[in-house]
C-alpha cells in the first residue's frame, strides 16, 4: 500500500481479513485500490515525454507492488489503480497484460485504471484487448 493511503486506512490488512465478514448481496469489497502515481501538477506522475520544466516524474508503485497486483488478481481481486501519467498507465497495462498472459481465463475479471489524464495513442487499444475500464475523471481539470 502507498503511504498516503493511510489517511483513510491506518492498516489495510485487517480490512482485507474483514472483507468476507462484511461482504453481502449488496456490498462486495472485491477490489484493491492502488495509487499508481500522484498528479502532473506536482510532477509526481510518470510521463513518457518530458515535462516542460524537464524530467519525467515518477510512479508511486514499484516492482514489488506490481507482483502483489498480479498475485491478488490471480486470487480474483480486482485491480483498481489511480494513474494520471501516460507512463504510469502504460506500466499498469503491462502488469495487467502479464495477469492475462498468466491466466487467459482471467480476462473476464474487469480491471480498472482511474483518471487516465494522459494516454498514448498506442495504449488505447490495449484497454479493450485487456478488458480494462478507463475510468476517466476530468472534473479536476475544470476551473
Amino acid at each position: 500500500m502507498n503511504d498516503w493511503a493511510k489517511d483513510r486506512c491506518a492498516d489495510p490488512e485487517p480490512l482485507l481479513t474483514l472483507a468476507d465478514e462484511y461482504r453481502s448481496s449488496l456490498f462486495d469489497p472485491i477490489g484493491r485500490k492502488w495509487w499508481g502515481d500522484g498528479t502532473p501538477l506536482s510532477k509526481t506522475s510518470l510521463i513518457v515525454d518530458e515535462y516542460v520544466e524537464g524530467g519525467h516524474g515518477t510512479m508511486s508503485v514499484n516492482e514489488t507492488d506490481f507482483n502483489r497486483m498480479i498475485e491478488e488478481a490471480k486470487k480474483g481481486c480486482l485491480v483498481r489503480v489511480h494513474a494520471m501519467g501516460d507512463g504510469t498507465v502504460r506500466s499498469i497495462l503491462d502488469v495487467i497484460e502479464k495477469v492475462r498472459t498468466l491466466d487467459p481465463n482471467n480476462i473476464s475479471q474487469c480491471q480498472q485504471i482511474a483518471h487516465c489524464a494522459f494516454l498514448r495513442d498506442e495504449d488505447i487499444p490495449r484497454f479493450r484487448r485487456l478488458n480494462v475500464v478507463a475510468d476517466f475523471f476530468t472534473s479536476y481539470i475544470l476551473p
Binding site: 500500500m1 503511504d3 483513510r8 486506512c9 489495510p12 474483514l18 453481502s24 462486495d28 501538477l41 481539470i141
Partner: protein
Amino acid sequence: MLFILLAKSGQWRYFPKGHPNKSGLILWSVIVRHYSAMIRVMVQLQIRQCSNLQGFTKDTPQPAYGYIEKDPQTGEPTGYLAETAQQAVFSKIPMYPDEVWERAMKRAMDNLTAWGVTAYIDASANEPQFRVYQKMEREGNLNFHISGSIP
C-alpha cells in the same frame, strides 16, 4: 478546531504563486486541500506552521513519492505538501465518527438516487464505511449494489 477547505483548480489562483502557503493563511489550523484527482487522493495540502506542528524543518529530507516545498531563500518549508508528504499531517487527524460517515454517505446516496444510479464502485472504502454499509443493509436502507475497493 481544525478546518479543512476544498479548493478546485481555478480557486488556487487566488493564492500567491498559484497555491496557498503558510504565509497566505491566517489561521494555523486551516488546511486547504486541493480538489484535483478526486478528493480521496488529497494531492496538495497546506497547513500554516506545519513545520512547528509536524516537525518539518529546512533539514527535513524529501519523502519518497512526495514533496515538501521549501522557500528558495530561507530553505524553510512553506507549508505546501504534496503526495506522501501529507501523511505526517493526516496521520494526526482522527477519523470521523461513524455517524458522520453515515450522514455524508446518505447525502451522497440521495444524489445518486436522484440521478437514477443504482450501483456504483466505492473506489477506496475504509473501515467506517464498511460498518455503515452493513448497518444500512441490516436496517433495509441500502438501495445500491456497491463494489468496494480496499486501499
